[in-house]
Amino acid sequence: MTEWAWLLPALPAVAAALGLVGWRLVPGGPAVVAIVGSAGALVVAVALVVAVEGDPARVHESARAWTPIGGIGLNVGTRVDGLAAVVAVMVCVVALLVQVYSTAYMAGDPRYSTYAAEISLFTSAMLLVVVASDLFELLIGWEVMGLCSYLLVGHYWQTEGARAAAVKAFVTTRIGDTGFLFGIFVLGVGAGSFDVSAVTAGAGSMPHTTVVAGALLLLCGVVGKSAQFPLHVWLPDAMAGPTPVSALIHAATMVAAGIYVVARLYPVFLAAPVALTVLGIIACITMLGAALAAFAEDDLKRVLAWSTVSQLAYMAAGLAVGGWTASVWHLLTHAAFKALLFLAAGSVLRTVGTNLMSEMGGLWRRMPLTFGTALVGAGALAGIPPFAGAFSKDGILAAAREHGGGLGTSVYVVGLVTVFVTAAYVTRLVLRTFLGSYRGHARLHEAPLVMTGPLVLLAGFAVLLGAPVLPSSYGVRSWFGVPAGSEPLHVGIGGVLLTSAVALLAVGLLAWQHRRQPATDPIDALGRAALPLRRAFWVDEAYSAVLIRPVHALAAAVVEIDRRGLDATVVGTGRTASLAGGGLRLLQNGNVQAYLSALVIGVLIVVISVSVAVAA
């Protein structure tokens, strides 16, 4: 079966191509094309899971020669193991649900066909990352995702915000991707091959500096794609795109890719502990900072975006401390509840016509189904049992505790603090959106079935992926081939209780505050201290001052230099020649005596010089 894995990216890719240029030929139009593509991929993915499930650690590779690149050759093909198969299923599920959801959400959009095709391409690219057997093949998927996020974030390109956000998303991730590319160089040259298998197998025997450099460079790409500090700035802005796209980006593709690649190339990182430490530090900064920023955000989708940043940091931190299984599990649970939250948010936004929570409130009455499913998502995000997030998150914290040392302790402490902040902003989100009284003016109504259906389905996942899959023999541990050297999955009652207690403390605090002052935003309670949070610690401003404006100034300067400097030199040379011609021309003044003088003097000079030269 695994030799058919190429169908995984191929089916959505075909759907994308058809959707772009040929959807008119397909009965049912673009929606059918897109849904069939995703569904087909899902079928393949499920089949793959079935195929590899017996021995998830075994790698099924099927590759063929791709191209020679000057002495060495590249291969192209698929590389399927448990991890890949499960993540593929996750991707396909979310993608399919998003496609289904979009048929309603994007109804009436004149560019729906393009939109659906782009989502298909997005899915295809992510699946290519998942199954790629070659690092450059992986890179193709990796960057095509960047392109798709650019296109989809910029879907509403009539608006300035969407255009800016799209560019920001692409450029920021591309900065990281450059490092990623160099990381591929380092590892591929070190291993003598760019096959994923060769690199992971060879990581241990490479010189230490090589593998550290390679791992650190790969991290650049991961940081960019998974929106970790300091390249996280694009993700909140990316909310300018349609909400289902956000669900896709945040749950199943793009940001997940970063974590997935670290998990996929874990032997490389294990061989380079320095890189893992760096990853841990970055993750700590990101998880807390993003959570705090989420707490101050008024825009519903941006709150979710910050939460994604924060949750991805959990996964990164988990990988950093060796909690491989927990991180990958959190990736899955997060995909479920984050997609759920976004789709719920989409359903809300579609009704209220605004993103701002200050213009919402009390929506639970009119949108009970949305509210209910959102509550499940919120619980999962906040880490409250029995929802899935609680267990996977605790797995990470447990791994950190297990890992110990400075890194482990830091991750554990920061993780716990973040649990508190997460619960706080989740509570705030629920309070400001669904509870209290409605502060806006729109006519509220529940979303149609094609939208609520996916919500309910995802809510189911958000529950089922938690405790139910934990202990059983078909449980989460047995889905992946856990790499040697990673921490085992330890989810204990004690840990879950502790995190739940921390989370519930935050929930309680907020609820109490809400009861006291139902009309005010909890963030206002912080007073002036909220300013850094509201401005997301001025990271954007710093970029603008340190990077963007200087580059723009430099660009303007280069244009000037080219015109005034280089080109003027060229033109100047021409002009000088012309002027010299003009000067020499003055000698040709028509006076033959002047000519003769020049002749005689010229001859004399030559005569003197040659006779002196001969005498010497």
């Binding site: 006076n591 005596q593 002047a594 003088s597 005689v600 003097i601 005569v607 006779s611």
Partner: protein
């Protein structure tokens, strides 16, 4: 220092002085006359150097023909008889004099130094030399230099025709009348 040296030196002084006057005299007619003196002295020099035939040719052709031609030329171009203010409009010297002086001095200096240092001590034995009279030179020309002699005839014919074609004005007008 022999007598020949003395004679040659005296002639040389005359020749040189006349030459300087040729190029400085404010009157073109006077300049032409000084040219006669210069060439005459030069002919004397040739005689000292045993070049009898050349000396006579010098007298006949240069003094007899070329200088006379120049006198005619000077007069035909209405050269003012009598001294002219140097450098002024219509003067005989141009504004190029300083440069000319420099060039002239430098030429003399360079060439003089070169030749004198190259031929220091060289002595012309004028007493044991076949005198270059007409017979000797004629024989030399016809034995060894027939080719230049023949071409020289083309040269002279061309010069003749050229001079005529440039100076005859009326004919050309008549020609134009013919054509018309």
């Amino acid at each position: 220092m022999t007598g020949a040296d003395v004679v040659f030196a005296l002639l040389g002084v005359v020749c040189l002085a006349a030459a300087v006057l040729v190029v400085t005299s404010p009157n073109v007619i006077h300049a032409a006359l000084w040219l006669v003196v210069c060439f005459g002295a030069l002919a004397g020099c040739y005689l000292v150097l045993t070049a009898e035939f050349v000396a006579w040719v010098q007298v006949l052709i240069y003094i007899g023909a070329i200088v006379v031609l120049m006198l005619f030329g000077a007069m035909l171009t209405r050269a003012p008889i009598g001294p002219q203010p140097a450098g002024g409009a219509g003067g005989l010297d141009s504004g190029n004099r300083p440069l000319a002086a420099l060039a002239g001095l430098a030429t003399t200096g360079v060439l003089g130094t070169l030749v004198i240092s190259a031929f220091r001590g060289a002595y012309v034995d004028i007493h044991h030399t076949a005198v270059g009279d007409g017979r000797v030179i004629g024989a030399a020309v016809f034995r060894f230099f027939v080719l230049p002699f023949e071409i020289a005839s083309v040269l002279l014919l061309a010069a003749l025709v050229g001079a005529i074609v440039l100076t005859r004005r009326e004919v050309s007008d008549a020609e134009q009348a013919d054509r018309a």
